[in-house]
Symmetry: C2
Subunit: 440 residues, 2 copies
């Protein structure tokens, strides 16, 4: 046998029971929140035609797509025809364009699943990671944006992440800003990138960066002055309102904030006229959730009314958002939240080979009562079996030695406290349920 | 825009809400059965190093592996370094070899997830499909085989598939058969393939096929005679018992059947001395579940004590099984089981734009009560909104016109029966809960 590398491939992970269970529970909590908000599941394949994904993620994104070699005789060509999905949004748009006639006029869909990017792996950055998306296809109403925001906020609340702030803006506010401050069209992308760094480098930093990129004097000077003013947001908004687009954008942000505010229990809204968000495809309202206390962005999204146009002739209004679920799971597991261990409720020990049938009978009874239960497989001394129950994280162990058997009794041991009680055989399952067992 | 293909890639599928929900529920039922039987989740990545999968699935399997092109500068080489997992077993063995020291002595793991094979797509055969596996690593006890069988049987019971038959055998019985009938070692693989076709071509067919492959006269004649005898199984078992290996195999089958029988509520066991199962790697007990009524194999598995040796120096006893979940889902959806539609419990209509805030308030209340609810996004006439509620599969719709608003009431319409009742605003959520809402 040649020496093999046994770890998972770079940037991917194996999840042992405790961690797998933790992830399952987090994702299930998110799913339940999405369902409560009227989103229904839609699933797309792990891979797409290469042509479906190509040209959708910019030059940098393009390089990170995992491409799949052709099969059979064509494998030797070294060419790829399929690719692992890079996000859940583009496949959903492809699916929507294909199945539109089988879907209601307004589609509220969620999708929770892995995506793959050949990024350089690092702390909290993986090549296989989960995304949790909600999208509403087919409505231009601000209530659609509100519903996306409420679903994400509810998921964050239900996960117990603590308070958060939603930074809310619109791409039309950004367009208005460019117009009002007279930023030339060919410099707008650059300025937008600088503005987006505000949460990292502060407004002072943004002002400094803007001075450095050689804007027309007037534009730069005004923008820098307003950004560093005492009430910078108000100063910017005043100026942005000079532009028609800007006014519309501000009104759109106002409407969403107004509908949302009374129903946002876990967070506050910050209308932020310089939030730009990197992705090119946003066209209207955009937002980002930040966990209070400086843990960074935990969700984001916005409206992208033109994306469906990649696959359809007509434009379809779409808005959506995504939880940064891998970061959220890191935040949750860094807290003192002790995950419930993956062990079964009950471990049935087996005194000797003749006691196996009795053990199986109890096992069947426990399972029929909805408990998770396992039986010692390999026998040996009860002390060793007890260590097995402990090592496996089981909550209770049941022992029936010859004396107990003769008396029609079993001993139940609480593996956490070490407490032990003896009950009639026929009462074993009920007794364990009385003593209390956890979820799953 | 160039004309794009919009369907999912060949052999893969998009699942719209009703189907996605059906699949979720099936997989959740399976998961719950596995957990009740003391199996814990372990997850491995979607892709593995190509070297991890190469040489594990025979020549035919090898061709069906989806290979992933190297990234960055190396992409131009046309070489692959990763591959999509072809099953869940080999990755689990790789993971076990890597993480053995972090795991209990006996590992009972389940894994439910997609695998990928570049098979020619056909009815019920996909290139992306789910597997649902349970495995017990680290125990050679027959109780381990029994636990695997019980977990699979429970999942099948819980899914409501109806009665089934478990064909049970051991590779050692097959080895004993070869020995007892004097099949030369170089012909055993061939004979094993023929025997395995018994459920398709019958014993007569097997006898005929055996006559045709030119075995030494004595071996073929005896085997054919016994296979076509009245009580063929007894005849074969008598002869197999002449071999030491055969006797051990028969005893092992007997032990498992004995432990299993009292706890098998939904099926019966058929000890079948010619069940061979295709995969090379089985070493001991093997089994296959068949749905009664001729729907074919719905689960299978066995003991493969040497497979870990691909990644470890020592041999580790392992047994496991897998549900044919895609076939099971086809069987279930072919029945008259009407899946619960994916629609929300409640659709809140919005009389006009001024009523949006009221609608959002009710929406928040419904969701806080654990109901799934959505709000009409785009407004317009109530009739049109009602058609929206219907199209979306919602169970109830709530309407509050100016008169109801003035009277502090809302109307609740049952979208299935058409029945409508008017209740005080403050009672709306409770009234809908009383009227009854489904799961999720």
């Amino acid at each position: 046998m040649t020496k093999q590398r046994l770890g998972p491939p770079s940037g991917s992970r194996d999840f042992l029971p405790d961690e797998a269970l933790f992830r399952q529970r987090v994702l299930e909590t998110v799913r339940a929140a999405f369902v409560r908000h009227g989103f229904a599941p839609i699933e797309t394949p792990a891979f797409e035609r290469l042509e479906t994904l190509s040209g959708k993620y910019g030059d940098e994104g393009e390089k990170l797509i995992f491409k799949i070699l052709k099969r059979g005789d064509k494998a030797a060509s070294g060419e790829a025809d399929l690719a692992l999905r890079y996000d859940l949004t583009v496949p959903t748009m492809r699916m929507y364009a294909h199945r539109r006639n089988d879907l209601p006029r307004v589609v509220k869909r969620y999708q929770i699943g892995p995506v793959w990017r050949a990024d350089r792996p690092g702390r909290g950055r993986f090549r296989e990671f989960h995304q949790c998306d909600v999208d509403i296809i087919g409505s231009a109403s601000p209530l659609a944006d509100v519903e996306v925001l409420l679903a994400l906020a509810a998921a964050i609340d239900d996960l117990g992440l603590g308070r958060f702030t939603i930074r809310l803006n619109s791409r039309r506010v950004i367009a208005g800003l460019m117009e009002a401050y007279g930023v030339p069209p060919d410099r707008q992308a650059e300025v937008s990138v600088v503005l987006d760094k505000a949460d990292k480098i502060g407004h002072g930093g943004v002002a400094e960066a803007l001075s450095g990129i050689g804007l027309p004097n007037m534009a730069a000077a005004r923008l820098v002055a307003d950004l560093t003013a005492q009430d910078w947001a108000a100063a910017l908004r005043r100026r942005i309102a000079e532009s028609g687009q800007g006014r519309e954008g501000l009104a759109e942000v106002e409407a969403i904030a107004g509908y949302l505010r009374p129903h946002l229990t876990g967070g506050t809204i910050r209308r932020d006229p310089i939030l730009a968000r990197g992705l090119d495809y946003y066209t209207g309202p955009i937002f980002e959730f930040f966990a209070d206390g400086g843990a960074g962005s935990i969700a984001g999204g916005g409206r992208y009314d033109d994306l469906a146009g990649m696959f359809l002739k007509d434009s379809v209004p779409v808005c959506g958002g995504s939880l940064g679920i891998e970061r959220i799971m890191l935040l949750l597991s860094a807290r003192d939240v002790t995950p419930t261990p993956a062990g079964a409720d009950v471990y049935v020990t087996v005194w000797d080979e003749h006691a196996r049938a009795d053990g199986l009978r109890l096992l069947t009874e426990l399972r029929a009562a909805g408990l998770s239960a396992e039986i010692d497989l390999d026998g040996g001394r009860i002390g060793k079996q007890m260590r097995g129950a402990d090592e496996r994280g089981c909550r209770f162990a049941v022992v029936q030695g010859p004396d107990e058997k003769a008396a029609g009794q079993v001993a139940i041991k609480d593996m956490t406290s070490g407490a032990q009680e003896t009950v009639p055989e026929s009462d074993a399952t009920a007794a364990i349920k009385r003593l209390g067992t956890g979820p799953d």
